[in-house]
């Protein structure tokens, strides 16, 4: 869909670029080459400048993510409580590592700095919903539920 449809509320001032990128990503799941060019036009700036902003911030994705995005927290508390193990467990279950998307387009895995739920470490979030006090079993169970949900859709 052309990005302009999402941007009605957003003023063409270039200080709104990040907000516009966030809006586009919310709808499309990522920033495609197409979207990037349209945004550059919208804010009357060279595409390379938009790309510069996109590549600077960890939040923006340039490729299409899976239906469920697993964000493994690697904040301090999670790290000392074994976030490396959580990553292993997720890889066991999904076959993909951080930064990848599986072939069916069900899961993407990413590592994030801190979800701010340190007291429940180790934690991961799936599409923003946080799952805490993870064990191998809990990771398996949680991801299998999501997989089922994906199949039912």
């Amino acid at each position: 869909m052309p990005v302009a449809t999402y941007l009605k509320e957003i003023d063409k001032d270039s200080s709104n670029l990040i907000k516009a990128l966030q809006t586009v990503q919310k709808h499309e799941g990522f920033i495609s080459d197409e979207n990037l060019k349209e945004l550059a036009e919208y804010f009357s700036m060279p595409p390379v400048e938009v790309e510069g902003v996109v590549s600077f911030y960890a939040q923006f994705k340039r490729s299409k993510p899976g239906q469920f995005i697993i964000s493994v927290c690697d904040g301090t508390a999670c790290h000392i409580k074994g976030s490396d193990l959580v990553k292993n467990w997720i890889t066991e279950e999904t076959g993909i590592e951080s930064g990848e998307t599986d072939d069916e387009g069900v899961f993407s895995v990413e590592t994030v700095a801190c979800l701010g739920c340190c007291s429940l470490a180790p934690v991961m979030a799936v599409n923003g919903k946080v799952h805490g006090n993870l064990s191998r079993k809990k990771v398996q169970k949680t991801l299998r539920q999501y997989r089922e949900e994906a199949h039912n859709d």
């Binding site: 001032d13 911030y57 301090t76 508390a77 790290h79 994030v112 801190c114 701010g116 340190c118 007291s119």
Partner: protein, 568 residues
């Protein structure tokens, strides 16, 4: 007689399953109101339910969405009753977080009923200069880490004649391990806004921005609701002058916590810091005079104005006044958020409030990746800006991670460097290249390939990165390495000289051993091993094993353990 039932649904509660509890209670409780509140700081007990009766409140911990728990709650029974430990009650002092978790965060009415916006009213009757004076006299210093006196910053902005003056709330709480600001925004968004509006009156600011991490969706939601209510009720019209309020979401860059980087990010650009001076008070957002304060600093302001600077400054030490929120996590019993008077010792926080067992703790990491590790022998150090600096740590924003004896300090330092090396924006060579070199060196050491020359390199390069970097990120990035080298050099030496990780954490220096006398041959480990490294006669193939600990976790008789790697 039950008045109403409150379920703590801040993001810590939700992660523990509070959403399900709330849904279950609201569906099955018909006679009383069931409402969602924030977090009272006792995160270890989540999901938490509070039953408000005519005369007092009862708290229930680890509540599940079951008939049994529901009945117990409605009967105000003894099961799962949360007791507030005396050790903690005696040490904490709830001022800034007084209302957190006690009121419905998005209810303006409830905030007002509990004294909300009275400080703003009082401030509006005062001359702006007097408000600035009051904040100066209170001794409030920036709660975001730097510790710059808030009142002095305000005075600089107030002195500017410009038409457009900007106030920014730094809510880009990027330190892994810190979640106090998140909690304040989720639980008492109106209090943060009240502080900002008082600041706007005092400094003559015309526009305010709140720069929040995108990773905090609930905080954004509650702030946005609060702002809508403020605008609807014209609370942002201060003596006839309307103040513009905007929430801006960050996009996941740690360096944006630095003020000039944050300003660039707000302008829609790459969030890179720049040289100061000019300071933001002279040349800030789009060239306008700008002041940036942290969430907790703003949340302190209504307290200062309500009780007056004299009363406020009675709490704390000579150079650090008031209270401080800490996020407690790591190897301790009672994780959560705690508000304590400045000057309390680290030991009191870790042992009395956190319930960590004496002797089980090696150090605390304070101030996140910019901070340092303080060893247990220095736990009598009072928590104030200056004492912590003298130990090579910083107050930081208030993340306090307790590190148990079973953790490796070299690996902890490696972890922080991995974070800062990735988050370096790349502008300054020392930060961009130097931190990468530190990281590579630490990786060599944790893999057992380090030499004495590597330790020398760390000691030599660290201070140069501090000197050669423009902003707070680079200037503090080597702190975790330098402070662990200062207090835990023996661990570095063990990795380098004996090729041993004393805490048995570094995977390349350990192997898995199965004690065949204890083993009951249940084969659980064989079946669990993700890489088939355990044979049918229950022997571990060291070369295939990834040290993932899956076998240790499933072993029902604890027959499997990590031991130092045996040589050839």
């Amino acid at each position: 007689m039950i008045k109403r039932i409150k379920v703590g649904t801040a993001s810590c509660g939700i992660a523990a399953g509070a959403d399900e509890v709330y849904d279950y209670l609201s569906k099955n409780v018909t006679d009383h109101d069931v409402v969602e509140v924030g977090c009272i700081g006792h995160c270890y007990a989540e999901p938490l339910v509070e039953v408000e009766t005519e005369d007092r409140s009862y708290f229930f911990e680890n509540v599940e969405p079951t008939e049994e728990d529901l009945k117990n709650i409605l009967d105000v029974g003894e099961e799962k009753r949360l007791t507030f430990r005396k050790e903690r009650k005696d040490k904490e002092l709830l001022k800034v977080s007084r209302l957190a978790g006690r009121i419905v965060p998005t209810s303006l009415q409830e905030y007002k009923e509990n004294g909300g916006y009275q400080a703003l009213e009082k401030a509006l009757e005062m001359d702006p200069d007097n408000v600035v004076e009051e904040v100066k006299n209170s001794g409030l210093r920036g709660r975001g880490g730097g510790g710059f006196p808030t009142g002095i910053k305000w005075g600089l902005l107030a002195a500017k004649e410009d038409e457009t003056k900007i106030l920014i709330c730094n809510a880009d709480e990027g330190d892994p391990g810190a979640f106090m600001d998140k909690s304040l925004m989720e639980c008492v968004p109106h209090q943060v806004m009240e502080g900002m509006l008082i600041a706007a009156h005092a400094t003559g600011a015309s526009e305010v921005f709140i720069y929040v991490r995108a990773e905090y969706p609930r905080a954004i939601e509650h702030l946005t609701t609060a702002i809508d209510q403020i605008i609807e009720n014209k609370i942002n019209v201060l003596n006839g002058k309307e103040i513009g309020i905007q929430v801006k979401e960050g996009a996941g860059a740690f360096v944006c916590g630095e003020e000039t980087a944050m300003i660039h990010s707000l302008e829609g650009k790459r969030g890179m810091p720049r040289f100061r001076p000019p300071y933001p008070t002279d040349d800030g957002y789009k060239g306008h005079p700008t002041v940036i304060n942290n969430v907790e600093s703003y949340a302190n302001v209504p307290v200062i104005i309500s009780e007056g600077a004299d009363e406020y400054s009675k709490v704390g030490t000579e150079g650090s006044k008031g209270t401080k929120l800490f996020a407690l996590a790591g190897d301790l019993e009672y994780t959560g958020i705690v508000e304590v008077p400045m000057g309390i010792t680290i030991g009191e926080i870790v042992y009395d409030i956190g319930g960590a067992e004496k002797g089980s703790v090696k150090a605390v990491q304070i101030g996140g990746p910019s901070g340092g590790c303080i060893p247990a022998k220095h736990f009598d150090t009072p928590v104030d800006y200056d004492s912590l600096n003298s130990l090579g740590a910083i107050m930081g924003s208030g993340g306090l991670i307790v590190i148990g004896n079973n953790r490796c300090m070299v690996e902890t330092a490696r972890y922080f460097l991995d974070f800062t090396a990735r988050e370096s924006c790349g502008k300054c060579t020392f930060c961009r290249v130097g931190n990468m070199r530190l990281l590579e060196t630490l990786e060599r050491i944790t893999k057992g390939n380090g030499t004495q020359a590597d330790i020398d390199l760390l000691e030599d390069l660290g201070p140069k990165i501090v000197d050669g970097s423009l902003c707070g990120l680079g200037q503090t990035a080597p702190n975790p390495v330098l402070s662990t080298l200062r207090f835990f050099k023996d661990e570095y030496k063990a990795h380098v000289e004996d090729k041993v990780c004393p805490a048995l954490v570094c995977n390349d220096l350990v192997e898995i051993e199965i004690d065949h006398d204890t083993c009951i041959e249940c084969m659980a480990c064989v079946k669990t091993c993700p890489v088939d490294a355990i044979s049918d006669d229950i022997e571990v193939d060291v070369d295939t094993c990834t040290r993932c600990n899956s076998c240790i976790e499933v072993c029902p008789v604890d027959a499997i353990s990590r031991i130092p790697l045996r040589g050839e």
